[in-house]
């Protein structure tokens, strides 16, 4: 095991090195596996995850030669009482062109609640080509009881989208995160 010696007793030296390996593997899970997974997901669209920040690069050309169908799905997760729907269920768009759609949410309860929308794209391969310049999913949404809100989404489908993809489905699942952000509520 190289020239580094951690103890003069050979067996203890071996043991200390192995303890180091074990500790390093424990750390590896947190500092390598989790971030690496997230990076890979963002880059390759594993699981259909999309970037969690707004896309800022300027798109140059619009591909007028083809159209892609973009389908919107709004889903409520467990026990989420809000009504949540997409303004349009389906759009036909040109790759490269900027598009917008509005999602509508309404809190039918009497209490203020906070929600987080989680996007997912299918086919997952398309996620890397789906750029959101503005999205309500970047932030949590707080709504007072009985209040409603229109939530905009601006997006561009990349011109480099593989030509064998004709339909992209974008789903948003709305999670109730009121319990985890009570601090934020106090401020309002």
């Amino acid at each position: 095991m190289g020239s580094l010696r951690l103890s003069r007793v050979p067996a203890i030296d071996t043991a200390l090195k192995l303890v180091t390996v074990a500790v390093a593997m424990f750390a590896f899970v947190f500092v390598v596996m989790v971030p690496l997974y997230n990076v890979l997901c963002d880059a390759l669209g594993i699981n259909g995850k999309t970037a969690s920040q707004a896309y800022t690069a300027v798109s140059t050309a619009v591909d007028e030669s083809r159209q892609v169908t973009v389908q919107f799905v709004a889903i409520n997760n467990d026990d989420m009482p809000w009504s949540f729907s997409a303004g349009e269920r389906v759009m036909r768009v040109h790759p490269g062109a900027a598009n917008g759609v509005v999602f509508r949410a309404m809190n039918p309860t009497d209490a203020e609640m906070v929600a987080q929308a989680i996007p997912s794209i299918s086919p997952s391969r398309a996620a890397a080509y789906f750029h959101k310049t503005e999205c309500f999913c970047f932030d949590q949404q707080a709504l007072a009881g009985q209040a409603g809100v229109d939530m905009p989404l601006q997006f561009i489908v990349d011109q480099d989208l593989p030509t064998d993809i004709h339909t992209i489905t974008l789903s948003y699942t709305l999670f109730d995160v009121t319990d985890t952000v009570t601090d934020g509520l106090a401020v309002r």
């Binding site: 050979p10 067996a11 071996t14 043991a15 192995l18 391969r125 999670f175």
Partner: protein
């Protein structure tokens, strides 16, 4: 002190404070057998409920607790500690060392196990019941939707992980530093080799499991969201981390079994192992491959097609080194002088049934076909063929093979053979029909099933009762041997046995190889 040749202390303190590798090995073996009976009891509950369609004995929620605890207890309580016990007994004797390298730590790594399993078993009596999310504990079923007992489950996993890591460090330190002069790496018995590689796997992946349960703990109690989509996490990440641990884990279970079989088959063939070096390389390749195939447990999770292909090809590759091993064992038997005492019978049983499990493993590696197999009883049958007929059969063979050396008394051969035949037949009645119901569409982990699966399930249950009962015969045979077995007549016990442990007196004295032995000649020549 001058008590260089003292024997064991007396009374309970002998066991509590012992640092003797043979004592600790014995405790590991008895503990794992107790866990084997406990896990077996859970299995009997499962099979009794599945005896007929309809709910008869237990409620669905309790059924899930049984499947979960059965898996956890068998994997972490029975199989793994049993091989650690075997390693404790045998590795120092096989490499000519007086004891393990770190005897004090050895004591600790055993004694933290019973409290861990006591804690795990006590969850059965807690509010909301024991963990009921399967031994693979997928989030969010095991986090947001779990019973409060999950916290105790997490602590139990942490403790037994620490125990495994300490045990492995000890084994590596022993093998690397305590070999007798002349015992080069390529002269070590294969059991030592397979354990050395296993121990490295354990040191590498048990911390990963610890990381996974720590993240669960943080998600449950500290508001993080590693595995919850709501906070930007991902439940699929859990599966990646779990199987990054879990796939090496299944080789951790099977590699020492390969080692045992590689010791016993040559002994009863009276012929050296055919390809010693290729066995070592095959073991190392299997260990390496185990790190790049984990996602074959997740073909249906919706991975990109490129990922599916990569994991499919890598998984199929494992068939090559595994094949090398099976071919080696059979070629070792070829033109030997074979006799069929109980240890050899269990090894032949291992060879046949493990190979069958290997074939179904190859079938499962084919991603598109796996869409039909995944999470059905076909998978249950597959992994019981490799876990039970693989690990448990070889462990049983090891006990019959080395028990006379350990205690100086011979077991009852007729009873041993009876145990083998009942086990072999019972095992196959239990698990062979599970291939059929799996292919026909029965999902795993269900407490009740459609009528078309009824006949095979009843058969399976009957087989399970037979197999379970045969283990009591084994227990009786072992106790009868220790208490009143016929003293062995031949010091060496088995005429074909090779290795340093057989050069010791029988029974093996409390302290052995206090002076390093002469390593006679390379293993592999006679």
């Amino acid at each position: 002190m001058g008590d260089h040749h003292h024997g064991p202390a007396t009374g309970i303190t002998r066991w509590l404070f012992t640092t003797n590798h043979k004592d600790i090995g014995t405790m590991y073996l008895w503990f794992s057998f107790a866990m084997f009976l406990l896990g077996g009891f859970f299995a009997m509950v499962i099979r009794a409920e599945l005896f007929q369609p309809g709910m008869q004995l237990v409620e669905p929620a309790f059924f899930n607790q049984m499947t979960t605890l059965h898996g956890l207890v068998m994997v972490f309580g029975a199989i793994m500690p049993s091989f650690v016990g075997l390693a404790n007994w045998l590795i120092p004797m096989m490499i000519g060392a007086p004891d393990m390298a770190l005897p004090r730590m050895n004591n600790w790594s055993f004694w933290i196990l019973p409290p861990a399993f006591l804690m795990l078993a006590s969850t059965l009596f807690m509010e909301g019941g024991a963990p009921a999310f399967g031994w693979t504990f997928y989030a969010p079923l095991s986090t947001t939707y779990a019973a409060p007992s999950v916290t105790f489950f997490i602590f139990a996993i942490h403790i037994l992980g620490v125990s495994s890591i300490m045990g492995s460090i000890n084994i590596i330190a022993t093998v690397m530093n305590m070999r007798a002069p002349g015992m080069t790496y390529m002269k070590m018995p294969l059991f030592v080799w397979t354990w050395l590689i296993t121990a490295f796997l354990l040191v590498a992946v048990m911390p990963v499991l610890a990381g996974a349960v720590t993240m669960m703990l943080m998600d449950i109690h500290f508001g993080t969201s590693f595995f919850s989509a709501a906070g930007g996490g991902d439940p699929v990440l859990f599966q990646h981390i779990f199987w990054f641990f879990g796939h090496p884990e299944v080789y951790i279970i099977i590699l020492p079994a390969f080692g045992v079989v590689s010791q016993i088959i040559p002994a009863f063939s009276r012929k050296p192992l055919f390809g010693y070096a290729s066995m070592v390389y095959a073991t190392a390749s299997i260990a390496f491959l185990s790190f790049i195939v984990w996602a074959h447990h997740m073909y249906t999770v919706g991975m990109p097609v490129a990922g599916e292909l990569f994991f499919m090809y890598a998984t199929m590759l494992i068939a090559v080194p595994t094949g090398v091993k099976v071919f080696n064992w059979i070629t070792t038997m070829w033109r030997g002088a074979l006799s069929f005492e109980t240890p050899m019978l269990f090894c032949i049983g291992f060879l046949i049934l493990f190979t069958l499990g290997g074939f179904t493993g190859l079938m499962l590696s084919i991603a598109p076909a796996d869409f039909q197999y995944h999470d059905t009883y076909f998978v249950v049958a597959h992994f019981h063929y490799v876990m039970v007929a693989g690990a448990v059969f070889s462990m049983t063979a090891a006990v019959y093979y080395w028990l006379p050396k350990w205690c100086g008394r011979m077991y009852n051969e007729a009873m041993g053979k009876t145990h083998f035949w009942i086990s072999f037949i019972g095992f196959n009645i239990t698990f062979f029909p599970q291939h059929f119901v799996g292919l026909a569409g029965m999902p795993r982990r269900i407490p009740d099933y459609a009528l078309q699966f009824a006949d095979f399930n009843m058969m399976s249950s009957i087989g399970a009762f037979i197999y379970g009962a045969s283990q009591l015969l084994f227990l009786y045979n072992v106790i009868a041997t220790i208490v009143a077995g016929k003293p062995v007549s031949d010091e060496k016990v088995w005429d074909g046995a090779e290795g340093l442990e057989w050069t010791l007196p029988t029974p093996a004295p409390y302290h052995t190889f206090e002076e390093p032995p002469q390593v006679p000649k390379p293993v592999g020549t006679i």
